[in-house]
Amino acid sequence: MSSDDDIRKPFLEFAGPNGAYYANVFLKIQKATLNRTHLNPVALVGSFVWAALRGSWLLFTIGFVIDLVAAINVALYFKFAKAAVDNVDRAYLVERYEGWSESHIIAAVVIFILGRLLFSWLADRLYVIQYNRWRINNSVNSGVSLTRLVIVTIVSVLIVPPMIYRASQFSPDARTCIKQDRAIDRGEEVSFKARFDCFAIGEFPTLFWIDRPDQISFPRDENGERIVQRTPPREGSPPVNLNTLVAQKIDDGIGYVTVFYAFLFDEITRLLRTMLTAITSVFVGTPWPVTMGVLLFVAYRMAGIRTTIFVGASLIYLALFGFWQTAMDTLSLVVAASIICVVIGLPTGIWVGKSKRAQFIVTPILDVMQTIPSFVYLLPAIAFFSIGKPPGILATVIFAAPPMVRLTALGIRQVSEDTKEAALAFGANPRQLLTKVELPLALPSIMAGINQVVMMSLSMVVIAALIGAGGMGYIVTEALENTETGRGVLAGVGIALLAMMIDRVVQKANLGRR
């Protein structure tokens, strides 16, 4: 056996039928001499069927999607062409539909031709990767198998007809389907096609209807005490779906809590207001020359001269454009929110960093806090705390606290086991381990967390202003309402400068300490 045969043997073994061709191509790929425009002719014709026979599911997906998209475009072409004929008496519709049908047929042809070319270009180049995997693990698909073709046929039969049908029909809207449901309830004849269209295309069908729940209100009784009053729904009122039901339950819950636990929220509001007043009195109550001087001095001590120049320039911008008081107002809001974030976030972060279970519980909560759109919790915040600065602070805390928890936990977890073991070996108790080893070593991460908290608090000022938190955000929202672009831009730049100022100082200070 010549050495050339030796080299080709594994290729032949892998490829099975038509092995000589693949041996040739793979060899060229390995020698990097494959023609740049090389196409696999069988793949060009066979597309996803070829990929299925060869057992490459990646290629199968690519080929299948290309052909499917082309086919859907053909279906859309016929759909709009037919619609144009059906609506021949309405000229504006005919024009629109003909335009659409034309663009779909062009898309179909282009996608089909370019897609097939791309596919056959990719075919051998991806197939060789499968060969490489097969060398490592012989259970990777190799050769040609008819079983796979059967699977593919079943999959295609399940996917292709509904897709094409969906593309060729105008989908019924929700109202049509609800009307249809009622009609069925009344025992009227509804065609199978109409039923099927409502069920399978368009919105996911409402599988079950629920009786409308009682209306709940909280009037006062003769003693002036609040009571819970349930009003059953009117006779014959239509049933509701799951969404409506749960939404109403949430409303009821929030209503109940606001009415019967008002004292709790009043207390929190009072606490927040007290804290804010204290902070505001420092920032706003101090004459501007003093505040400015102190801020510049702090910047200089913490971050050096270059940052101080930047801080100085930013402060002058705020002052010259008449944002001084509002900026200080915003700053107090941010400081208050940041303090709360740190007070809550640091212990939580330590807990999360040390306990797997805590991590398991807290991580999804943090994810929700960060991803849920702020407008969603602005509404309950208003319900509980009415409008003003306190709910603004709370909304800010919800958004800005997660990085504090995350980065604290990260810092705690990053402390190496060896270092902790050494501390334990010298007799550290858990408290000493935390204060003398873990927290100091986690400090850079914790500082990064505080920085993040401040930045994210600032990014919330505009949204918090919507519920009456005032400050720079208020100018922006006002400008938005009155479409005063200029004022909005000036205030926006002010907020950005405020953020950058704090960020630069904290970052530099953090770097300097390390």
């Binding site: 190496s416 270092t419 073991e421 007799g427």
Partner: protein, 353 residues
């Protein structure tokens, strides 16, 4: 050659450590059926770390525990200060059962009577050298003045004078490990646990530190459990050596015993490459005088032969035998007790006695 009059400062009695959720079950099964490490892993998803180990180290002794990685030596030594709880067995430190200590007593013992040195130093990067060294004292709430004083003394002891106010990251590896050693010595513990302290250092620095440590140890007389994966180091440092394999002690003995009478092939393999020159003594290689004469060989006049003491090592005997026709006569006081011929000497170097 344990000195039986010396009290055992550190002692482990039939210590077992099995890692895994089903350690208890596994332990029972291992004891009953004498399962191997692999069998335990397969049947109980548990890892045997330490397997029925009983060792004892006397006061002032450097007791080496030698084994390859994964042999359980580091696990074993962490039982002494209960960084790891044994699955079964007892650990006695100065006669006190460590397993019975209350949490507060355990912390006190770790801080006051056991110092530990780690392979990767594990210094606290945010503290100066002095504060690192005084760490154990600080944990016991010793006042700053006292602990700075103590730390400065220890700094001098490990020849780091002038580095007290530096941070560990400013020091070289060898110096960092001196800090590690100083930290272990600062609370003046009776016991030192040294977990491959010099393994991460390059050979020259390692040798220097070994010598320094031997000197320190000779003057401070701390009971030391010294872990190493390097037999050369074990032989240099240890007054006794325990060789571990798969969590078990394969052999315990003086360096000479290990080298000349390896307990099994595993130990023999290790010992094969070791130079015997300073480990094997005249009394091991010599032919007794009566036996020598009974073979009919004629003993030359004693005055014409080089003479040596039974406790002289091979290195010295070679020096004596060079350029000599006559064999070396081994004299105990003034009576000849044995003869070392050149053949016997060469065999001794090979390790066959």
């Amino acid at each position: 050659m344990t000195d039986s009059s010396r009290a055992n400062v550190v002692e482990t009695r039939n210590v077992w450590k099995i890692f895994g959720d089903r350690a208890g079950e596994a332990l029972e099964a291992v004891r009953r059926d004498n399962l191997s490490k692999d069998e335990v892993l397969e049947r109980f998803d548990a890892v045997v770390g330490v397997r029925d180990v009983s060792i004892s180290a006397g006061a002032g002794e450097i007791f080496c525990i030698m084994g390859l990685s994964g042999s359980g030596k580091s696990t074993l030594v962490r039982h002494i200060n209960r960084l790891i709880e044994p699955t079964a067995g007892e650990i006695l430190v100065n006669g006190v059962n460590v397993g019975m200590l209350k949490p507060e007593e355990l912390l006190a013992m770790r801080a006051e009577s056991i110092g530990m040195v780690f392979q990767n130093m594990a210094l606290l990067p945010h503290r100066t050298v002095r504060d690192n060294i005084a760490f154990a004292l600080e944990l016991r709430n010793v006042d700053i003045f006292t602990r700075n004083n103590v730390a400065d003394k220890v700094i001098e002891l490990v020849s780091l004078k002038g580095y007290g106010d530096r941070y560990p990251s400013e020091l070289s590896g060898g110096m960092q490990q001196r800090v590690g050693l100083a930290r272990a010595l600062a609370a003046d513990p009776d016991i030192l646990l040294m977990d491959e302290p010099f393994s991460a250092l390059d050979p020259l620095i390692r040798r220097g530190l070994q010598d320094e440590f031997l000197e320190l140890s000779a003057s401070m007389k701390k009971t030391t459990l010294f872990i190493t994966h390097d037999l050369d180091e074990a032989i240099r440092m240890g007054s006794r050596i325990a060789i571990m394999k798969d969590g078990e002690i394969v052999q315990t003995g003086t360096p000479e015993e290990i080298v000349t009478k390896p307990a099994d092939d595993y130990v023999a393999d290790f010992v094969a490459g070791i130079s015997k020159l300073r480990l094997v003594y005249a009394h091991t290689v010599m032919i007794h005088i009566e036996e020598f004469e009974s073979r009919g060989s004629k003993l030359p006049a004693i005055e014409e032969c080089p003479r040596a003491h039974p406790e002289d090592d091979l290195d010295k005997l070679i020096g004596l035998a060079v350029n000599q026709e006559n064999p070396v006569i081994i004299m105990d006081d003034s009576t000849p007790v044995g003869v070392v011929t050149k053949d016997a000497l060469l065999r001794g170097i090979q390790g066959e006695t």
